[in-house]
């Protein structure tokens, strides 16, 4: 297993997300008024990747902080955690990020998500005791310090889409970035 593959495997394993993250890759309908369905997109095929974007996660911000993507574009994100604590790269709307943070808080409360590592034993324990499974969701990467990961995403309507770290407090401290719709 080469380094890249290993990292990818770890990243997948660590893409710990509860139910909402599962919804994330599907269609999501806004409750409000106009009723227009909005899609944040979905995991993409490697064969369809048109462009690769490198993201560096620092404590506690992204570099770069703004990205331009087009509707229908499939992008490979190479994400590196250059910080000293765990960070996430998660593609979703602000509302979804907010809901997701509550779940991340549970991981903190159960001792799964530590400042600089993920306690897999605690994760197993949590799974057993709570009956909740954690599964990889295609829209996020959760990386320990020094780790890198890869995420391929096919964008739909990029409007209101953000990439963010939902380790509790990080989003509010400003660890998020905007997707701008490229023309």
């Amino acid at each position: 297993m080469n380094h890249r593959l290993y990292a990818r495997a770890v990243a997948a394993a660590l893409a710990l997300s509860l139910s909402v993250a599962g919804i994330a890759s599907a269609q999501m309908s806004h409750g409000g008024g106009h009723g227009a369905a909005m899609s944040i997109g979905q995991p993409g095929d490697a064969s369809a990747v048109g462009r690769t974007i490198e993201i560096t996660m620092h404590d506690n911000y992204y570099e770069p902080e703004t990205l331009s993507v087009s509707e229908g574009e499939t992008v490979r994100f190479l994400v590196k955690n250059a910080g000293a604590i765990v960070h996430e790269f998660n593609i979703a709307t602000a509302e979804m990020h907010k809901a997701h943070e509550a779940e991340m808080q549970m991981l903190v409360d159960h001792g799964v998500l530590m400042p600089d590592r993920i306690d897999r034993a605690a994760a197993e324990k949590m799974k057993t005791s709570m009956g909740h499974g954690m599964h990889a969701a295609g829209n996020s990467l959760l990386l320990e310090p020094g780790q890198s990961g890869e995420l391929i995403w096919r964008f739909a309507d990029a409007k209101d889409l953000e990439f963010a770290c939902n380790v509790p407090g990080h989003y509010q401290a400003g660890m998020m970035g905007d997707f701008r719709k490229a023309n």
Binding site: N60, G111, P115, G169, Q172
Partner: protein, 579 residues
């Protein structure tokens, strides 16, 4: 050597010189200490201020800069400035009688020291009662690199408890009559109400228990009758910080009060705490936080609506509030909440069962988080209970503190904070260093400091000895000392060590937050560790002005260390009597 190569060498040398100068840029600052008029809605008096104003001065430094600060004393008495939280040579620390001789009337004293840190700090007089009389200001240090958080606006929110009486008079009144300023004492009418609610015998038993101890459950604030100010402005003057909806606003809360803890909230906004006592912490989002005297907290808020928000800071005893506003346009106001009911201390806060806790190991490998020294959750004393069951350190990281509990308060304490809207209240247990300053290691020794006092005589002390009778605490350069604070009083004490960091033990090992003030709640034991890396003589005290000046104070002497660093350490005076 050819002319060209010589010129090149010169240019190179010049470039070196220039770059080394820019690396350590120099900044000149000057401050005057003046008599100023202070007017609040409640009273007007002559106070002390910096640069001729009762609005606190803000000093803005840059990390890496070498600052020169000329302080001119325009008072008729001595003064001094202590740079609270700054790491500097001890001769620059500004404590008369320890770091230097003070600044005489008419004299200009020039401080000079490198800025080796960033964040939010403050400065104040360390002479007499000048700080409660208004001699305080803010320090904002811009970091060399980027901050680990984002903000579009940046405001200092400096709180104080301005009082109509001078500090000297307050001290004297407290000595003459310790409850002089307590206007929340339980009365006969309260007794009648309690008899109705709890029954006569329960009410009598309760009065009798407190009367036996000659203590008061309402003794939360020694000093009432103050007007809280934000940046020198009273609640009616309404300090306002502007924002555009959607912007991130950084609020640098500094509690420069003489005596008052504040519970701060901004109804409608959550606050993400990103810095405590100048050091970045891993962000934690809360609805409300308590700021001890002399602490600082930096928070990020992000108001998205086009409306005003009230910054509401209630005193811990609920006798007064500070109020400011965040608004898209000046002149806007939001609803100002009512003060909540004043807390009552319980027997849990009383320090009845201090001492050792059975077989628990209090050594450096012992429990790391604070433990209550006793518990009386139902308000009754419990003898011989198993303190081992209350070891919050054992809860470890997986612990989920329940709503309404805080391991840094005695179980059943009347002071345990509760968020106004049932949301999240910041606990010390939530603070984790963003980036540890020191490599984590076991402490090399433990020093126990019992926080003691005699409320009736208004004498405050450490290990039952007040400052004037005490020997200095001697530390060796290179040690990592674990301080064990055992609060045997009914008051909350914000303990402040000068010159070196206080690593607060919240049970997070290397992520323990690095502070300059640690607040020790009544009836609790709290640990902090200090890497002894600053030779010289330093002050170590409770930051409540009238506790500090009545004896809860020690001199710390750091012995040894690199020759250059300790060169100006004065000779140790001969000790003749034991303390």
């Amino acid at each position: 050597m050819t002319a060209t190569s010589f010129a090149r060498a010169c240019a190179l040398a010049a470039a070196f010189t220039v770059s080394s100068v820019t690396a350590a840029s120099a900044g000149d600052y000057s401050i005057t200490v003046d008599r100023v008029a202070l007017e609040t809605g409640d009273f007007a008096k002559t106070a002390i201020g910096y640069n001729g104003s009762s609005t606190p001065t803000i000093l803005r430094f840059k990390e890496g800069e070498e600052v020169t600060i000329a302080v001119t004393n325009n008072l008729a008495e001595d003064t001094s400035i202590h740079w609270h939280g700054l790491i500097l040579p001890y001769r620059q620390d500004g404590v008369p009688g320890i770091s230097f001789d003070g600044i005489k009337p008419g004299e200009t004293f020039t401080y000079r020291f490198p800025i080796v840190q960033s964040g939010t700090y403050w400065f104040h007089s360390h002479t007499g009662f000048q700080e409660p009389d208004g001699a305080y200001g803010a320090i904002v240090i811009e970091p060399q690199g980027r901050e680990p958080f984002r903000f579009d606006r940046d405001y200092v929110v400096q709180l104080t408890d301005a009082h109509p009486h001078s500090g000297e008079r307050i001290m004297r009144n407290l000595k003459l009559m310790p409850d002089y300023y307590n206007r929340q004492q339980r009365t006969f009418l309260d007794f009648l109400n309690d008899s109705r609610d709890q029954g006569l015998s329960a009410a009598l038993a309760d009065r009798s228990a407190w009367g036996e101890m000659r203590m008061m459950p309402t003794d939360v604030e020694d000093l009432q009758g103050f007007t809280p100010l934000i940046n020198g402005q009273d609640p009616a003057q309404n300090w306002t910080g502007l924002f555009e909806p959607g912007e991130r606003v950084r609020l640098r809360f500094i509690n420069s009060s003489a005596m008052t803890y504040f519970d701060i909230r901004i109804p409608g906004l959550q606050m993400t705490v990103v810095q405590a006592d100048g050091n970045n912490v891993q962000p934690v989002t809360v609805d409300e936080l308590r700021i001890a005297v002399a602490e600082t907290y930096d928070v990020i808020v992000r108001p998205t609506e086009d409306r005003a928000y009230t910054v509401f800071a209630e005193s811990m005893g609920r006798t007064a509030f500070a109020r400011g506003t965040l608004a898209p346009r000046s002149g806007m106001e939001a609803e100002v909440p009512d003060l909540r009911e004043p807390p009552l201390l319980t027997m849990a806060d009383m320090g009845m069962a201090h001492g050792e806790h059975g077989s628990m190991d209090h050594g450096s490998s012992g429990p790391r988080a604070p433990q209550p020294t006793h518990t009386m959750a139902d308000g009754t004393m419990m003898q011989g209970m198993n303190h081992g069951t209350m070891d919050h350190g054992a809860m470890g990281h997986g612990a989920m503190p329940m709503a309404g509990t805080d391991p840094f308060y005695a179980p059943g304490s009347g002071l345990t904070p509760q968020a106004a809207d049932g949301g999240k209240f910041l606990s010390y247990a939530d603070l984790k260093a963003q980036k540890p300053l020191y490599e984590h290691r076991d402490a090399t020794r433990e020093i126990e400091l019992r926080l003691t006092g005699n409320m009736e005589r208004y004498i405050w002390s450490i290990n039952d000895v007040k400052y004037s009778d005490a020997e200095p605490i001697r530390l060796q350069y290179g040690e990592r000392v674990r301080f064990k604070f055992v609060n045997e009083t009914m008051m909350t004490h914000p303990m402040h060590l000068h010159g070196m960091w206080s690593i607060l033990d919240v049970g997070q090992g290397k992520w323990n937050p690095v502070k300059h003030v640690v607040s020790v709640a009544p009836g609790t034991t709290l640990y902090m560790e200090t890497e002894v890396d600053a030779p010289g003589e330093w002050a170590f005290h409770c930051h409540l002005s009238y506790h500090m000046d009545s004896g809860m104070f020690r001199k710390v002497i750091v012995e040894g260390g690199p020759a250059g660093k300790s060169a100006d350490l004065p000779a140790v005076p001969q000790q003749t009597t034991g303390g």
